[in-house]
Symmetry: C2
């Protein structure tokens, strides 16, 4: 049976995330992909996702997406797709809010495990 | 070889679309999914996509997403996932701009063919 379609309001959902420098919650699903809202400030960890591309849509603020040989500034109203296997490191001094799209179950720190690795992202 | 990651600026891309009431262009790809920017004003056609969910992220304006038994207003800062097989009809008096996400090659009018059917959506 088909789900009853509902809309997702980003502001409302962000208000459910804790005010930490890094927090993530799942808000929607499309086929086997998940949509996650992310708040981040600081420097993430270098990592890559060996099996999938990953999309960031910036909703507020700006990020510096670092690659090994360059960086790209991505701000509100912009998006970037990280190709699978490409090492990257999000960073932001002022902080950003983003919508992240990737297949279900992709680890947030990709091929790396450290203190930033989230075992299980919850729905909000 | 991995693609060189680049960012997409929605305003810049929208400026490349014709000023018709309905226009669509592809702006990015993630695995076998495409991201399309859509401008729409008016009433679309009732249709469904039998094999896939479909995501609308509203970037500007508002739409009434009609279903057979209800409708949902979706406005800037909101998104909705249309489950596969569910009949829907986007409509908007004032017009909206949206980011549409679905697998490559999904026909815009789903299971229906009429004068709104686009044979091939181009990259912008």
């Amino acid at each position: 049976m088909a789900m009853i379609p509902f809309k997702i309001n980003f502001s409302e959902k962000f208000s459910k995330l804790p005010s930490d420098d890094y927090s993530v919650g799942i808000v929607a699903r499309m086929n086997d992909y998940e949509f996650k809202l992310v708040k981040f400030r600081g420097e993430f960890v270098w990592h890559s996702h060996p099996d999938t591309d990953e999309t960031f849509i910036i909703l507020d603020g700006r990020m510096m997406m670092h690659f090994r040989d360059k960086w790209v500034e991505v701000k509100s109203g912009e998006m970037i797709v990280i190709p699978k296997g490409v090492e990257h490191k999000p960073a932001s001094k002022e902080g950003y809010k983003a919508l992240l799209i990737e297949p279900e179950g992709v680890p947030n720190t990709g091929d790396v495990k450290n203190e930033m690795t989230i075992k299980k992202v919850e729905w909000i």
